[in-house]
Symmetry: C2
Subunit: 82 residues, 2 copies
């Protein structure tokens, strides 16, 4: 099924307590080479047909102003997956 994948992450200068908890836990399990963990969202938009260039541009626009909160999050990628 054709999809657009929108990836959203908490801004780099923002605390991510959930990620911090996972990082601490992985460190305690012995994975000390992991310096930090950040947890964001992966949003799949499903389409019946492969999205057009115009639909991708539309998705980029509403990814920034509807699917993410610009105050605390960054859209890191918007990609078509056929």
């Amino acid at each position: 099924m054709p999809k657009i994948i929108v990836e959203v992450m908490p801004k780099a200068d923002l605390l991510d307590p959930q990620g911090k908890a996972v990082a601490n836990s992985l460190n305690r399990k012995g994975h000390t080479e992991i310096t930090a963990v950040r947890i964001g969202k992966r949003i799949e938009l499903h389409y019946d047909e492969t999205p057009t260039e115009a639909q991708l541009e539309e998705a980029k626009a509403f990814a920034a102003d509807f699917l993410s909160n610009g105050v605390i999050e960054d859209v890191v990628a918007v990609t078509v997956e056929a």
Copy 2:
């Protein structure tokens, strides 16, 4: 910064009420070509140095049994981003 990206999605046969709400909302805004929305997680593991093949295998293992809940979620991708 070198990273391993773990992507986790709710299983296909599972209801995703949050995704359903976003899909309805996008449909009401006129994006009727979007048939469904699913919302999962994007987990970034940060490393000081580019992860080795062995570290990637380790990450795949704990992505499946620690970072995701196999009853309701699938790990869809574990990739290195240098």
